[in-house]
């Protein structure tokens, strides 16, 4: 064992520290047997300093030579022997490593009592640099257990890298990446992590019906949803019962929204999506005042002559009002909106959440309509938040237990958190008030630059796949230390199933290959049992209770 470890260490040695600074990163000369082509940006390395160990990520790889004239008179590399000799000596590779953490003891990382601390200095000259070992990763990111969820593996390694779920659910979080990079798969894993840790309950606004029941992968293979893996802990609500049933799911509840539940502020949020002018959207407040709780139903039932009259009555521009009427009439196409004032979707939802059940709300065919998504998510979130504010305040007064923390997952998050409106929307306040009322967000988005800066800065943990544009990269990395260097890491992620993760749930930024999801092996690792195993389990449970069956 001891000798094994030694061997492993030696083969992992990359080189030694030559120069650098805390602000610019440490320069490392590659050992002559290591080629630059073997090292990728984002690789996780450990540096054995004189007094402590350092951990960091490779942020740049470059070529260098001892003598600048070499570039004009290169050595005779057509001769293979000469080529082999000069590589690594006369000419060599260098790495730039961003030191992130330090660990007091220089020998056995696990013997140190203190956890890793943020790096406040750089290793001494000639310190040995090696690829971080499995033990290093486990020690820094934690071993897989109830509060540490295995989310993926570091670059070019098989070691499980874990997120601290307890830390994760303390604040709102974000998953970013351009379309097709693996956001949905990553989010599904995060949801499972939260579910297994039972630190919070999930409420997922499942736009494309892929989290609850049967998602699909790009090669059109079916992947299991949460309800299929954890049927006793997950309820699926549906806005489109027909579509759910067609996909083989009997929803736990078919959600309806009454006109009376729609507030003028919901209309505000729909401005961009429905193409409403500011004046038109504002006039919904006048309507609410004039027409009462059923303002929308009554408004939509008006004939055009009546509109004119009403416009004068509430002194709103008549054209604006008729546009509003026109646009909002589209809501009539949403069958989940009805005129009843006895809908209890919100009550049901809260009921499930308060019992610790995770709820996925499927949109079915309405997932194609951004308006439907924004409207429903906004209405339900507002009501849940109200309820949580009430429960939380009551608990502090009466000393009754606090409400179970809820994590609300929204896709296309920038539609809810646009800079102009994030100040007023419910999602904006949830993101900003942190965990005050035990409600946090998991925002999933492909265009983070469209999200309010302040909201972005409040996200505790961000996991980002490859992004489209410079602006998106800036917005995700703004305010992160060493962001200039992480940028080069982020822009070189693979286009699928790779992500840069950083924030509260991780002691240091790290590039991961997202854990595989979709094979029966992966389900089993997540604790799922197939029918035969389940039967076996029942049998052994029964035997534990009553003794072996002798009949």
């Amino acid at each position: 064992m001891e000798t094994d470890k030694k061997c492993e260490d030696v083969s992992n040695v990359l080189g030694m520290v030559l120069a650098g600074s805390l602000t610019e990163g440490v320069r490392i000369k590659l050992a002559s047997n290591v080629s630059t082509e073997q090292i990728k940006v984002g690789t996780f390395v450990s540096i054995r300093g004189e007094l402590m160990r350092f951990f960091g990520v490779v942020t740049d790889v470059s070529l260098d030579s001892m003598d600048s004239s070499l570039t004009s008179i290169p050595p005779d590399v057509t001769n293979p022997f000469i080529h082999e000799v000069v590589s690594g000596t006369t000419v060599y590779g260098t790495l730039t490593v961003e030191p992130m953490l330090t660990l007091g003891d220089d020998k056995d990382p696990t013997s140190s009592l203190e956890g890793p601390l943020p790096a406040k200095t750089v290793p001494a000259h000639f310190a040995e640099v090696s690829i971080a070992s499995e033990t290093d990763i486990e020690f820094i990111f934690g071993k897989e257990d109830e509060s540490h969820f295995y989310i993926g593996t570091p670059l070019d390694m098989e070691t499980k890298l874990c997120l601290d779920v307890k830390e994760l659910v303390k604040r709102s979080n974000g998953v970013f990446g351009k379309s097709g990079t693996g956001k949905t798969f990553l989010t599904r894993l995060l949801l499972i992590g939260i579910l297994q840790n039972s630190a919070a309950v999930n409420l997922v606004f499942d736009m494309h019906s892929e989290y609850g029941w049967k998602g699909s992968s790009e090669d059109n293979k079916e992947v299991k949803g949460l309800k299929q893996l954890f049927s006793s802990k997950v309820a699926v609500f549906s806005l489109d019962e027909e579509s759910s049933r067609r996909r083989g799911l009997t929803p736990d509840y078919v959600a309806k929204i009454g006109y009376g539940e729609i507030e003028p502020e919901d209309i505000q949020l729909l401005r961009e999506t429905m193409g409403l002018s500011e004046v038109a959207a504002e006039s919904s407040y006048n309507l609410r005042q004039r027409l009462g709780p059923q303002w929308l139903r009554d408004f939509l039932n008006l004939k055009s002559e009546q509109l004119l009259e009403l416009a004068q009555e509430i002194s709103v521009n008549e054209r604006a009002l008729s546009t509003l009427h026109n646009r909002l009439s589209r809501l009539k196409r949403f069958d989940f909106i009805n005129e009843s004032d006895k809908n209890d979707s919100v009550k049901q939802l809260l009921h499930y959440l308060e019992r610790g059940m995770h709820v996925v709300l499927e949109f079915g065919r309405y997932g194609n309509s951004l308006a439907a998504y924004i409207l429903v998510a906004n209405i339900l979130t507002r009501r849940i938040h109200d309820r949580y504010v009430y429960l939380k305040d009551r608990s502090s007064v009466d000393g009754i237990g606090e409400p179970r923390p809820v994590v609300i997952t929204i896709e296309e998050a920038h539609k809810f958190l646009t800079p102009g409106i994030a100040g007023q929307t419910i999602f904006g306040s949830i993101a900003r008030e942190m965990r005050k009322y035990n409600v946090t967000l998991l925002v999933v988005d492909q265009r983070p630059s469209g999200i309010d800066e302040e909201v972005m800065s409040q996200l505790g943990t961000k996991i980002t796949c490859l992004l489209d544009s410079e602006r998106d990269v800036n917005s995700v990395l703004s305010g992160v230390s060493g962001s200039r260097k992480l940028r080069s890491v982020l822009s070189r992620l693979e286009s699928k199933q790779q992500a840069l993760a950083f924030g509260d749930a991780l002691p240091m930024p790290v590039v991961i290959r997202t854990r595989e999801y979709g094979s029966s092996e992966s389900y089993r690792e997540l604790g799922w049992k197939d029918d035969r195993e389940l039967a076996q389990q029942v049998k052994s449970d029964v035997e534990d209770l009553f003794g072996p069956d002798t009949s």
């Binding site: 002559s32 004239s69 050595p75 690594g88 006369t90």
Partner: protein, 216 residues
């Protein structure tokens, strides 16, 4: 005469093995006639019975000095008398020596040696001994084992590279090629040695290229 057979193909020779005469018995082939801490001149006991360029040799007295053959020359014992051309018609070199056996006594073969290491109290030091070897010390060629032991580490290479005796690049190349076969992985030995040289010759790509080509 076997010394003349020694000229050509050296690369396949193993130090101390194929050189039957002195190596298997380690009998000395010569005697020191000029000495300084860095440089030794040895005279061969028999005309032409010299080791090859780049061979590692030892001089034995209180302590052992190791040096590398950097130049071999044969000339008249009396510096004021130069040999005259003697061939008649179809004579081979051997014919001439047979006809005039006295020639062997009028000529002598000398070997220039660059000191690279020494051994005292059984311990090997890859740098110069503080005291030079004494005149008349016997010189013999090193055995396989000694060559390997010495070349486990090559910090003394710079001494050979920067020396001004003979043609240093040829000496270094011959020394390394010969030493390489004493190692289990000769190729790796040469590459490592090459890397040493590359560090020493940083800034002189032309010489580096020339030297490495001789080794490869």
């Amino acid at each position: 005469m076997d010394a003349s057979a020694d000229n050509g193909n050296r690369s396949s020779d193993l130090v101390g093995v194929s050189k039957g005469n002195y190596a298997s018995t380690i009998s000395p082939f010569g005697e020191i006639v000029e000495a300084s801490t860095t440089y030794l001149l040895a005279q061969c006991h028999r005309l032409y019975a010299a080791p090859s360029l780049g061979d590692l040799v030892r001089t034995e007295e209180d302590s052992t000095a190791f040096s590398v053959v950097a130049d071999v020359s044969t000339k008249s014992i009396d510096p004021s008398r130069r040999p005259l051309a003697m061939s008649q018609g179809e004579d081979t070199v051997d014919d001439i020596y047979n006809r005039h056996p006295q020639i062997s006594r009028l000529l002598s073969t000398e070997i220039s040696l660059i000191v690279v290491a020494h051994k005292a109290d059984g311990k090997l030091f890859r740098y110069l001994s503080p005291v030079p070897t004494k005149i008349h010390a016997q010189v013999s060629i090193c055995q396989f084992e000694e060559v390997r032991e010495l070349t486990m580490s090559l910090e003394f290479l710079s001494v050979l590279i920067t020396s001004s005796v003979g043609s240093p690049d040829d000496v270094v190349a011959a020394f390394l090629r010969t030493a390489s076969v004493s190692h289990p992985d000769p190729k790796k030995f040469l590459v490592d040695a090459g890397k040493h040289i590359a560090a020493i010759l940083a800034g002189d790509v032309h010489r580096l290229n020339a030297l490495l080509r001789r080794i490869s």
